[in-house]
Structures are given as C-alpha cells and as structure tokens.
Symmetry: C2
Subunit: 196 residues, 2 copies
DNA sequence: TCCTTTCTGTAGTCAGAATTATATAAATAG
DNA sequence: CTATTTATATAATTCTGACTACAGAAAGGA
C-alpha cells in the first residue's frame, strides 16, 4: 500500500513550522491565509488539502508549539534544587520564549487568541485550558516545595501558582509592548519576593 | 447662531457611553458596527454623522473611559498614607474595574486592542501610550515613597513601577479568563511582598 | 411660504478574506 | 498504455463588515 496519486510538493512538517511562526507572530485572527500560504510557498488549495482549514492548522500549530518552542518554561520548572530556583528558571525561560517569537513578541498560548469574536471562542478556550494546565503544573511544583520544606506549611500553593501564572502572562504582554530583555528580567526579582 | 437643520434624534453623550460599553466588552475589532448602532438604537448613517468613523468613536470612547470608569486606580494611587497603602488601593481598584466591565471582563486600556492587524496599529499605540502613562504615574508615587522614607533609598522605582503595571495587566487578563474576585484579590498580597 | 441645513431610514456599495470549482499535472496499479 | 488517485494553479464564489448614495423628514431663516 504505497502512496497513491501525485505526491505533495512540499514537506508538511516543515510547512507546519512556518505556519506556526506566522500564528505566533500575528495571532490567529490577524494571520491571514495569504500570510500562511506565502510563508510556506503554496497556494490555498494545497493548504486546505493538507490542513483542512485555518482553524485546524492553528490547532496543529499549537500542538507543535507546546511540544517544542513553548516547552522551555515547563521543563525549567523541573530543574533546580529549590522551589525558588525552579520558579526563577521558569520565569527566565518565559522571557526567552517571549523574546524568541518570530516577528512580534510574546507567548502564542497567551496572545494567540485574544479577541472575543464568537467564532474564535473554541480556540480561545483551547488556549485558556492550556494556560490552566500550566498553572496546575506550577501548583504541583509549589506543593512539592511545601512538602520538601522549601516553603512554609502555611504557603498557599494555589494562590502562588495563580500569581506566577499572572507574572508569565504579564511578561508576554510587556514583551508585546516592546519591553527589552532587561525590562523583563527586572520583573523576576520582585515577583520572587512572594516566596519568603 | 442657533442650531440649524434637523436636530439629532438621540443624546450624543449618552450614545457615547453605550458605545464605550460595547468597545469595553468586546474590544475594538470584535465590536462590529452592528453592535454599536444596535446598542445606541440608531442606524449607520446617524452613527457616522455623529462620530465620523469606528476608529474616531473608539478614540472618544477611550477618552471618557479614562475620565470616568477607568480612573479609579489612578485616583486610588493618590490615597493612603504609605506607598504600600497606595499601591494596594490601586490594585484593588484595578480589580473593581476589571470586574465592572459590562459583559466581558478586564480593562479597556489593556485588552481593547490586542491584535496586530496593520490597520489597528495606531489604536494599539494609543492604548500603549496610556499604559506607559499609567506606569509613569506609579513610578512618581514610588519615587515619592522613597523620598518620604517609605521605601529604602536603594529601591528602584522604575523597576517596581513596571512590576505593578505588569500586575495590573495580569489582573485584566485573568479577569478575562474568568477569574473571580477572590482569585484576583489573592494576587495582591504576593505582589506587595516586593515592597519590603 | 419657500429655501437651506442637517439628520434619518432604506438599501445599497465596496473591499477584504476564507474557502472552493474546475481543469491540469504527476504519481501508482493493472 | 490506460485508469485511478491525489496534488496543484487559476480563478472564481461567498460572506462579512465598514461605510455611503439617495430620498424623505424636521428644524431655522428669509
């Protein structure tokens, strides 16, 4: 059962990378099909044959983003001896992600779908769920910190997890507003004061 | 030189309030002319005769937002004996604003124009400038705190101002994501730890 | 009263953007 | 070689959403 029919004239994975870059740079709604097809170097019918629709392409792009470019902060969270080191590493990795965006700045999961168009609701929810997952992983790490004695028994892991989720969102927003690496790194120390 | 011609059939200021509510709830791009005219109860030609264009209407809406609904945090900043009290009052006022939005949630200045459509660039910059102004007022208050001995001489007012600007942005984002008042208020205490 | 001015309602125009119909090209299976 | 299958390119189609032409209505001024 070899491949039948005319073979695809481009590499699908490679194309998906480029599509993700466009979504990352512009967000879902501002990324026009034009931009997507131009970035890959294909025409609309090829795009639809390969990815189904703009929305499905976005979902796939989010998947590879989570697996690759966007995975730094969550990996950093598992490094370090203490909670404080882990959180700090996560925040610094968030800054890397925010400044590493292709054109614009900020994290795809945070800024990819902001508008409240009725039709983009499902994609907004998709990203919102991923943000919630992120917060839960942070909470798990904080709870471990409490268990290991890094944090006092009275520390509220859920509250602090929400707090550091907020800091990461703010990093992306300020990166979008043009903040420099130095500006963003200056947010880290103040935010770590909450761990005392 | 009394008024000439047929008088307008609606109250312009009242209409502008309703227009602002729609922009606040949906953001600039998601707010369709349909929504705006329906909220006021007028037809498109009346809208254009009174406000010029969607963009100009948005600019006017931002103006009255800054003057009225959105003014709470900056007024709160001037209250309180200590810097800490002032900042805390400002953050709590931000929560009021974020939760007081008509339908959706969050601050108009923070979430009103998120997309990077080329044509919305000027409006994005308009809001970005207002956010920068906010940060500068916070910095001025922090500098006063240093002068008055509320904060150590070594405190970096610019960094802390950026930090509290970030917290307010995060409050709006989390409100948009459905956070409750309790959730948002839980962000305040951790963020105040940076003032020690 | 008649003219000028300005607003209002109906019903469009116009541009932009996602998606697709049709014909053609490039591969495998028989 | 022919048929079948799948991809591609050109050129629509379709829909949405900002904006407006035109005719009629409501005021003031001569």
């Amino acid at each position: 059962m070899a491949t039948r029919g005319r073979p695809r004239g481009f590499d699908r994975d490679n194309a998906l990378e480029k599509i993700m870059d466009v979504f990352w740079a512009k967000g879902y709604e501002a990324a026009q099909l034009n931009d997507l097809t131009a970035a890959v170097g294909i025409t609309p019918p090829s795009f639809y044959a390969a990815f189904g629709s703009k929305e499905q392409a976005f979902r796939e792009a989010v998947n590879i983003y989570v697996a690759n470019d966007g995975s730094g902060p969550m990996r950093a969270l598992e490094t370090g001896e203490t909670v404080r080191q882990a959180i700090q590493a996560m925040l610094l990795a968030s800054i890397d992600v925010a400044l590493g965006a292709p054109q614009s700045n900020g994290c795809l999961l945070i800024l990819g779908v902001m508008n409240c168009q009725p039709e983009t609701g499902p994609l907004y929810d998709l990203l919102k769920d991923l943000r919630r997952e992120t917060m839960e992983r942070v909470r798990a790490r904080l709870e471990r910190g409490v268990a290991e004695g890094d944090l006092p028994k009275t520390a509220d892991a859920a509250t602090l997890a929400r707090y550091y989720g907020a800091i990461m969102q703010a990093i992306s927003m300020q990166a979008r507003d043009g903040a420099s690496r130095r500006d963003l790194e200056a947010l880290v120390q103040p935010s770590l004061a909450a761990l005392r």
